[in-house]
Amino acid sequence: MSALTTVASLVYLISAVCYVIGVHLMRSPKTARRGNGLSAVGMFLAVIMIVITIIAEGKITGTGWVVLILGLALGVWYGVARARKVPMTDVPQLVSLFNAVGGGAAAVIGIFDYAVKAGGTHLSVAFSLPVLLDVIIGGITFSGSLIATGKLSGHVPGKPITFPGARLVNVLVVIAILVAAWLMIGLPTNVWFMVLGLIASLVFGLLMTLPIGGADMPVVVSLLNAFTGLAVAFAGFVIDNQVLIIAGALVGAAGTILTLQMADAMNRSVANILAGGFGTGDSATNSTATEVPVNVKETSADDIGLQLAYANNVMIVPGYGLAAAQAQHEVAELAKLLTDNGINVNYAIHPVAGRMPGHMNVLLADVNVPYDQMKQMEEANSMFENTDVSLVIGANDVTNPLARESGNAISGMPILDVDKSKSVVVIKRSMSTGYAGVQNPLFSMDNTQMFFSDAKKGLADIIASTKEYINQ
């Protein structure tokens, strides 16, 4: 080991420790930001070290510097600009986009190292196997994450996309990947073997993601995130760089656990999600009402304003509809109006409210909702009995009392016990069912009133009427 490689190995080790401790700190809200910062410090160290290494080795050409610096500069500019400007409602698709390019970069490294040795070299399995895994997994996450980004942002229809013979095409693609794998490992190098594997894996990524409904996308994004981690780890094998192996494996394992927890919180299994074709995620905006339950009482913004102005304890239950309508500013304004007048306001946040687990907290924090007003499910459920008015905004399945009974699509799902509060007001665009496709008996209960409106507009009307009653 030369002095330089020794120093480099130690620096990479420190940087790897930064990632592990960083992830550890991110498990608690108090230390999470420091954790991310520590992980960024580790990244900075690794980059500094590789710059020193390639300068010291002196192999890089002038053109090499130019393309490297140009690529990095454009990438940093684009990534930071998007990350700074993105509205908090669009974070899921941006993370998915960043994941796609990460997988793409890992695949590029495998492609490069295989192509460099192309032209009939006999490779050892120790080299060809990691290259193969890197290119294939990287290719799948690249195309799969781009489709996920498109579905989350609405550029690709959110509903499951299937076509006749999809199963057969899937089988053919898997065969193509296996053939490419055999060619790359068994035979002397030939660039076309790798091109076959790359194209097949890109197609596989598309076919894997297209049939999955938009509402399941967060879990898919998390799964693809774990995949990218593995691709990066294999890229580390290819170029014999331990910091890539450690960080990649760390993300691969951590991402897998996170995926399982997310799927669990949504009462779905990862296998079911990948089988596809279930939730459309668009049902919140789909106003074709199916068999409207009887006894639904409609109410007006004026009446809701009156109820709120004379309540003592108000619980706000935000859901997907609030995130979709981007009504978080309005809800925060209403809550502030009420708290300023001595009314006790809290938010009941279901683990999967919003577009992905924890997303609702981010949205509300963005509009300055105090952290201690956001009640997690268990705490909120103990408060509903003393709640005068529960204001359900664009949430459906997470409040459905049918979950307590057996024999339906949402049986056993943890829910918010909204029905236990003295009065319930539901702001919703229509009577359409939620993502699970189950009617919600909450809407036809005696103490429930429905206000059919877009969350943003409805809340603006309610704010106006509440102000009138408070000022009387």
Binding site: G75, A83, A235, L250, I257, A365
Partner: protein, 104 residues
């Protein structure tokens, strides 16, 4: 099996185990930021982009090196920035919540 491969494999397996261990039970509030933070960490692939750029010596390899550097830089720079923005929102100075505490 070569010594180098064995060492790398051991590192890989141990890191997987550390990943499983360090991740157990995340509060749902932090799942989205955590996913984004993990996403930023695999941006370490940028180190690999430097390595291939140093070996590139013909136009096709320069193109690959450029693509690798661009993709990896978007991942790492964007990933850390957006994660920090999300987490920063949890740390804002809180308004007084004394009334609520009295009611408990």
């Amino acid at each position: 099996m070569s010594q180098e491969l064995y060492t790398n494999l051991a590192i890989f397996v141990m890191s997987l185990l550390v990943g499983f261990e360090v991740m157990s039970k995340i509060p749902s509030t932090l799942q989205t930021p955590m996913m984004s933070g993990a996403n930023a960490i695999h941006g370490v692939v940028v180190v690999g982009a430097f390595v291939i750029a140093a070996e590139a010596n013909s136009w096709i390899f320069y193109v690959l090196a450029f693509l690798g550097a661009f993709f990896a830089a978007v991942n790492v720079a964007g990933g850390y920035t957006v994660t920090d923005r999300m987490l920063g929102m949890f740390n804002r100075p809180k308004k007084s919540a004394s009334k609520e505490d009295e009611n408990k």
